[in-house]
């Protein structure tokens, strides 16, 4: 839905706040399902989140969730941070792209303690290496697992079975 009013929308406000200081970091802006999504360069992501946390006009002080997304065609793993401002009723999603081969990004636990387990889960399933995380080890899968199972190069099915073939399951 296109807005024709001259009043700046909440999305515009967030964008202008970001552009005040980090104009060069913004790669792309989109609003899928009316959720403002800002794709950023990967280097200064923590600094930007800290800026949005402290900024008096938005105060994004609640981390809704963070997770990774694997894009095998792009050979990249995206990190997605979803922030909420309880005070101003605002929501924003920040996205960075990391190389599939060696996804390394600084930890968010320096700002949000809640990021601890979320980053452990992201490491567990996608192998994203969060630099500075206090205890980056698997959280849900067995400790001796050698794969990162939500990456799309790994098949979903258990590979140790021979008796479950497609014919038996009508696939």
């Amino acid at each position: 839905m296109e807005s024709n009013s001259t009043e700046p929308t909440e999305h515009d406000k967030i964008i202008s706040i970001l552009k005040e200081k980090y104009d060069g970091e913004i790669l792309h802006v989109d609003t899928p399902y009316n959720l403002l999504t800002v794709t950023l360069k990967q280097e200064r992501i923590i600094e930007i989140i800290q800026y949005l946390y402290d900024h008096a006009q938005v105060k994004f002080q609640y981390l809704t969730t963070l997770c990774a997304i694997h894009y095998p065609d792009l050979k990249q793993i995206a990190m997605m941070y979803q922030l909420r401002s309880l005070e101003n009723n605002l929501e924003v999603r920040l996205k960075i792209y990391l190389p599939e081969e060696n996804p390394v990004t600084p930890t968010l636990t320096s700002i949000f303690a809640a990021a601890n387990w979320m980053e452990r889960e992201t490491y567990d399933f996608y192998g994203v290496n969060f630099q500075g995380h206090p205890s980056l080890r698997r959280i849900l899968n067995v400790d001796d697992m050698v794969i990162f199972p939500m990456r799309k190069e790994y098949p979903l099915e258990d590979q140790t079975r021979e008796d479950k073939n497609n014919a038996m399951f009508g696939r």
């Binding site: 067995v142 099915e157 258990d158 079975r161 479950k164």
Partner: protein, 185 residues
């Protein structure tokens, strides 16, 4: 109110033996089998919906107490029968195995439902594809989940095994080889 007559109470048949005035002689194996069969203490290892069916099985309507198994044991040390009911994730595997190892001989294992028996619909990286990959299983009960009648049928199959098992089976080289194939002892 209907009174319970003595005839309504079911008493297990005595095993084969020699009988005369004032004495009855049978083999120790048969006497022990009869006693064990009708006093199995199950350890319910319930992780999902099959566990709910087990609760129905223990309830008044189906009443597993009729088979001498009303006393559940939540300590593996005292249990005779390990009833595994539900999906066993790979992370739960070592726990299940430890519970099995803590049980004293003789011990039996009943695998209830598709998930415990084969992984069921969960053909995925995180689910154990059947508990017989980590512990030996005596009886499998199919179903997703099985009805209480099926669980009782499985218990009756276990009862048959318990009744007819040789007292020396647990010392046999075949049994030791079976355990060794699972890396136990």
């Amino acid at each position: 109110m209907e009174t319970v007559r003595l005839n309504d109470i079911k008493v297990s048949d005595k095993p084969e033996g020699l009988e005369g005035a004032g004495f009855f002689a049978t083999s120790l194996e048969k006497a022990v089998g009869l006693a064990r069969k009708n006093s199995i203490w199950p350890l319910p290892f319930a992780t999902s919906c099959c566990g709910i069916e087990f609760m129905a099985t223990m309830g008044a309507h189906y009443d597993l107490a009729r088979f001498g198994s009303e006393r559940l044991s939540f300590s593996p040390r005292q249990a005779d029968l390990l009833m595994v009911m539900g999906t066993i994730a790979k992370k739960m595997g070592p726990v299940l195995r430890q519970v099995y190892e803590q049980m004293a001989e003789p011990r039996w294992v009943l695998s209830v439902g598709a998930c415990a028996s084969s992984g069921g619909i969960f053909d995925t990286y995180s689910v154990l594809q059947g508990i017989d990959r980590i512990i030996p299983v005596d009886v499998y009960v199919p179903g997703c989940p099985p009805r209480p009648e099926q669980i009782i049928d499985g218990i009756m199959k276990i009862q048959h095994l318990v009744e007819t098992e040789s007292l020396r089976r647990r010392e046999s080289p075949e049994y030791k080889a079976l355990l060794n194939s699972y890396g136990i002892e």
